[in-house]
């Protein structure tokens, strides 16, 4: 692959230079377009309210103020929403990964009556739009007495069909011999799953965890339907509420939107690879 670098071939370098300049100018524009909005609300979150509506818009605040952050952290239940989101996203992630891994193991490694039918049924449910299930899922959650509770936020989301596919596909690649060896050493069925399959599936488990965590962190519709109590709100629901209550107070909304994104950005910077892999599962964008 020929790349733009000084490898001594000056004639070639000079020939591709104009093209390289155009390419990098366009890439710079792309970076501004993709990251600019984040940087802009970050900067806006430190502005005084009156400077937010100045013309021309200030890209960098003339004077940094912490008022917006102190307001959302002291006057609003923002830290509570933050805690709720972390709790719910973590519990859903752990629960989903465990439940999906158990099922995926059976589908990948075992013969049992009805397996292909059940797998086909699961495949078919991918075609059902979530909005159709919203009403009956709400009624069932109500019937189970889980409305307005953490349980109602967590339990209905635990069976993730795409997760079973992802894990099953990965587990199928684990050689049978490892299982047989463990069985000869006296491992039980669950022992094989827990000691052999699960550790070897770590990359797929990580990818699924990221997918589930991200979509839970950003989930708006289900909390919207299930919750009444503002103290149980998660961040997306809280942001929607702020939007209607502080419509033009952009300092407040910018600070809260920015804070809500920070944790995922930090996780992304460390675990990028799993985010990229999870993308092809087709479940990241909720």
């Amino acid at each position: 692959m020929t790349r733009f670098k000084f490898n001594g071939d000056w004639r070639k370098t000079i020939r591709v230079l104009p093209q390289a300049v155009i390419v990098y100018v366009l890439l710079a524009a792309l970076v501004i377009l993709m990251l600019g909005p984040y940087l802009y609300i970050f900067s806006s979150s430190f502005k005084e309210t009156y400077t937010l509506i100045s013309i021309p818009p200030q890209l960098i605040p003339e004077e940094f103020v912490w008022d917006n952050y102190s307001y959302i952290l002291t006057e609003l239940p923002f830290s509570l929403w933050f805690f709720n989101t972390i709790l719910v996203a973590l519990l859903v992630t752990v629960g989903t990964v465990l439940i999906d891994a158990l099922a995926a193991y059976a589908f990948a490694k075992k013969q049992f009556w009805g397996r292909d039918f059940l797998f086909g049924l699961m495949l078919a449910t991918i075609m059902i739009p979530g909005a159709l299930l919203l009403i009956p899922a709400f009624l069932i959650t109500n019937w189970l007495g889980l409305l307005n509770s953490y349980g109602g936020l967590i339990i209905p989301g635990l069976a993730n069909v795409l997760g079973v596919f992802l894990l099953r596909q990965f587990m199928q690649t684990i050689p049978e011999e490892l299982e047989h060896a463990a069985r000869i050493d006296g491992c039980s069925d669950f022992g094989v799953f827990w000691r052999i399959i699960l550790p070897l599936s770590a990359p797929a488990l990580a990818t699924l965890s990221i997918v589930v965590f991200t979509s839970q962190w950003n989930n708006l519709v289900w909390p919207l339907v299930v919750l009444n109590d503002k103290d149980l709100y998660t961040l997306p629901l809280g942001l929607a509420l702020l939007r209607s209550e502080f419509q033009v107070n952009y300092g407040i909304t910018s600070a809260s939107a920015f804070l809500s994104v920070v944790p995922l950005v930090i996780v992304f910077l460390f675990l990028q690879r799993y985010f990229l892999e999870g993308l092809t599962v087709g479940a990241v964008k909720g």
Binding site: L118, F138, G282
Partner: protein, 308 residues
């Protein structure tokens, strides 16, 4: 359904030779492994699916104990109601606009990042992933400020270019495109990253061969690279279409369907009629219509997943 309680007696399969013949006895524990998943799957997926079909034949409030059976009345009402017509048109207009725009721009941007001269491709891949990290609610906050009339950054910049002020979210003629702009920003990374992976997977020899045959860069892209990316482009179009028909979050946070139903989508209709206006039957009927639209498109997605 398959649960561990489905013992041979209960399922009528008392003949033990069946179990031996099928070679499954040693694998009965499989049912224990799938039990937690299947229980939740039946309660929160399969059950609700059939219940939703039933609800579409009823009339009543979501909390009503007794909902009278009205047959296909809800579906007939959908065809005569002005709002539903507007909702269908909005969803259709939005989908046929956003999907081609997203796919074509993503293709162009993937070629830009995939260009041989570009180093640090991983960096640019990460950059286009960033918008995918924010929730629709956060993105809506960010963009409502950028798109704001008079003091919004975009409004200011377009003003500098002499473009007349556009009320992106409050003009009924523009609001759907304001939403489209935001959703484009939110989702474009998905398409770019998918295309980039497919593009970098095309063997270099094929490009070389085409170039030796005298093809220019444009011809190589159109005649060699893009055809080889066919399946990925199809997947991208399918996913984009599925998401577009289910647009809700951004609309709910920013415009709540307004102004004058300009951004009212099918899912917006379902949510509002079920949980605000107390018309569960109509909402469920709209859900079934959405299912009928999504199903054939989603069938492709299912096949792709099934093949793996």
């Amino acid at each position: 359904m398959a649960t561990t309680s489905a013992t041979p007696q209960e399922s009528g399969l008392t003949d033990t030779s069946f179990w031996k013949r099928a070679g499954v006895r040693r694998n009965l524990s499989a049912y224990a492994f799938i039990l937690p998943f299947m229980a939740l799957f039946v309660i929160f997926n399969i059950g609700p699916f059939f219940w939703a079909l039933w609800l579409s034949l009823l009339r009543g409030d979501i909390v009503d104990q007794v909902k009278p059976f009205v047959g296909l009345q809800n579906y007939l009402s959908l065809t005569t109601d002005d709002i539903t017509l507007k909702v269908f048109l909005n969803s259709l207009q939005y989908t046929v606009s956003v999907v081609p725009i997203a796919v074509i721009t993503a293709l162009a941007l993937a070629f830009l990042i995939g260009n041989k001269l570009v180093r640090f491709k991983d960096f640019f891949r990460a950059v286009v992933f960033f918008p995918l990290l924010a929730s629709a609610a956060a993105t809506a906050q960010i963009w409502s400020y950028i798109l704001a009339p008079r003091y919004g950054v975009l409004t200011y910049l377009t003003g500098l270019l002499g473009i007349p002020e556009i009320y992106w979210l409050s003009d009924p003629d523009w609001a759907l495109y304001g939403i489209l702009l935001i959703e484009w920003w939110r989702g474009i990374g998905f398409h770019i990253i998918l295309f980039l992976a497919a593009m970098l997977g095309v063997p270099e020899e094929l490009h070389e061969a085409a170039r030796i045959d005298g093809a220019n860069a444009w011809q190589v892209a159109v005649k060699v690279t893009i055809p080889l990316m066919g399946p990925v482009i199809l997947f991208s179009v399918v996913m984009g279409t599925i998401w577009a028909f289910q647009l809700f979050d951004t609309v709910f946070v920013l415009t709540n369907g307004g102004p004058v139903h300009a951004t009212a989508t099918m899912v917006w209709y379902i949510y509002n009629h079920a949980f605000r206006y107390g018309q569960v039957g109509m909402a469920a009927a709209m859900g079934v219509v959405l299912l009928l639209i999504i199903m054939p498109i989603s069938y492709v997605q299912m096949r792709v997943l099934g093949e793996r």
